[in-house]
C-alpha cells in the first residue's frame, strides 16, 4: 500500500473526488455552447460574402474565404477540446499527447499539401 494510512482516502466522498478530478461547471458549458453557435452563424454568413483573393506571388493565389472558414472551424474545435473534452483541466500527459499528435498531424498534412500545391510552380 502506498497510500498514507494516516489519511484514509474515501473515494465515495464528493469533496475528495472534486479535489482529485476537476468538475467543469455547467455555466462554462453554456458559454461554450453559445460561442459555438455564434461561430457557426458567422461561418455561414461569411461564406456568402466574397472576401477576395491575394496574389502573393506569380502562381500563388490565396483565397480568403476558405482561410476564414478554416480559422473559425479551428477556433471552434479548440473550444470543444479545451472545455467539453476537459483538456484545459487535464493532466500534463494528456496535454502532451494531444500536442504531439496534432503536431505530427500538421506535419503530415502540411508537407503533403505543400508538395501537391507547389508542383506546377514556374511551369507557366
Amino acid at each position: 500500500m502506498t497510500e498514507n494510512p494516516e489519511i484514509p482516502i474515501d473515494h465515495e466522498s464528493p469533496e475528495i473526488h472534486e479535489r482529485e478530478h476537476h468538475i467543469v461547471s455547467p455555466r462554462i458549458y453554456v458559454i461554450i455552447l453559445l460561442a459555438l453557435l455564434v461561430g457557426t452563424a458567422i461561418t455561414v454568413w461569411a461564406s456568402y460574402v466574397d472576401l477576395g483573393e491575394w496574389h502573393a506571388a506569380p502562381g500563388l493565389v490565396i483565397f480568403w474565404n476558405p482561410i476564414l472558414a478554416l480559422a473559425i472551424a479551428c477556433t471552434k474545435a479548440t473550444l470543444v477540446v479545451l472545455f467539453f473534452m476537459h483538456v484545459k483541466y487535464g493532466t500534463k500527459l494528456t496535454k502532451l499527447t494531444i500536442g504531439a499528435g496534432v503536431f505530427t498531424f500538421l506535419i503530415l498534412v502540411g508537407m503533403t499539401l505543400a508538395d501537391y500545391f507547389t508542383r506546377a510552380w514556374g511551369r507557366w
Binding site: M1, H11, L36
Partner: protein
C-alpha cells in the same frame, strides 16, 4: 513464510478491500490513476481517428485544388440550411453530452438519463437529416457510379440548385470531375455518419445502464470517455460543414 508475515498479508488484503472502491482494478494504486490511464488510452485512439480523417481531408483539399470548377459546382448541390441544421443538432448534442458527464460526476441519475436521452435524440435527428440529404443525391443521380448524371453540371439551367448559385455550364472533361467531389463527399460524410451510428448505438446501451445506476456510483470513466468520442465526432463535422458546404459559395 512465517505466521506474522501471513498475518500482515491478510491485513493488507483486508485494507485493500476496504480502501478501494469496487470499480477500481487492483493493478492501479488509486482510482484517479486508473481514470488517467483510461483517459490517455482514449486520447491515443482519438489521435488515430484524427490521422484517419486527416487523410480524407487532405485528399479533399488536393482534388479541390486540381479540379476547382468541378468542386465549386459540386458543392453548390449541397443544401446549406440542412447542413446548418445538422451543425446545430450536433453542437447541441455535444453540449448535452458534456452536461451528462457533469451529472454522472455529481451522481444525478435522473438528470444523467435525461442528458443521454437528449444526446441520443439529437444524434438520431442528425442521421435523419443526413438520410434526407442522401435521398436527394440518389434522386438526382449524384451518387458516383454507373448511374451518375452530369446533367446538373453540363446544363445548369435545368437544375434548381445550380440556377440558384448562378452556375455556368462546365466543359465535359471538367464536369466529369464532379464525380470525384461526390466520391469524397460520400466517403467523408459516410465515415462521419458511421461514427454517429456507432455513437448512438453505444448511447442506447448507456441509457439502459444509466437507468440501472451504473454511472452514478462515482465511476464516471465510461461516460467521460464516451463523451470524448462524441465530441470528437462533433469536431469532425465542424470541419466537414465549411469544407464541403460553405467555402465555394460566395
Amino acid at each position: 513464510m512465517s505466521d506474522s508475515q501471513v498475518q500482515v498479508l491478510a491485513e493488507t488484503a483486508e485494507a485493500h478491500e476496504h480502501v478501494h472502491p469496487p470499480y477500481q482494478r487492483h493493478h492501479f494504486e488509486t482510482y484517479a490513476q486508473q481514470n488517467d490511464a483510461t483517459n490517455f488510452a482514449m486520447w491515443l485512439f482519438l489521435l488515430t481517428e484524427i490521422m484517419f480523417f486527416g487523410g480524407l481531408f487532405t485528399a479533399y483539399l488536393i482534388f479541390r485544388n486540381w479540379y476547382y470548377p468541378a468542386f465549386v459546382s459540386g458543392s453548390h448541390q449541397l443544401n446549406i440550411p440542412l447542413g446548418g441544421l445538422n451543425t446545430l443538432l450536433l453542437i447541441t448534442s455535444s453540449f448535452t453530452m458534456a452536461m451528462g458527464v457533469w451529472c454522472a460526476e455529481l451522481r444525478k441519475k435522473g438528470a444523467l438519463v435525461l442528458c443521454l436521452t437528449l444526446t441520443f435524440v439529437l444524434g438520431m435527428g442528425f442521421l435523419m437529416v443526413k438520410t434526407f440529404e442522401y435521398k436527394e443525391k440518389i434522386e438526382k443521380h449524384h451518387v458516383p457510379g454507373f448511374h451518375y448524371s452530369l446533367q446538373s453540371f453540363l446544363a445548369p439551367e435545368t437544375d434548381e440548385a445550380a440556377m440558384a448559385a448562378h452556375d455556368k455550364p462546365l466543359p465535359v472533361d471538367m464536369a466529369r470531375h464532379t464525380e470525384v467531389y461526390f466520391s469524397l463527399y460520400f466517403a467523408m460524410t459516410g465515415m462521419h455518419a458511421l461514427h454517429m451510428i456507432i455513437g448512438v448505438s453505444i448511447l442506447a446501451f448507456m441509457i439502459v445502464r444509466a437507468q440501472a445506476g451504473a454511472y452514478t456510483t462515482g465511476h464516471v470513466t465510461y461516460v467521460e470517455n464516451f463523451g470524448l468520442y462524441w465530441h470528437f465526432v462533433d469536431i469532425v463535422w465542424i470541419f466537414l460543414f465549411p469544407l464541403l458546404y460553405l467555402i465555394s459559395r460566395h
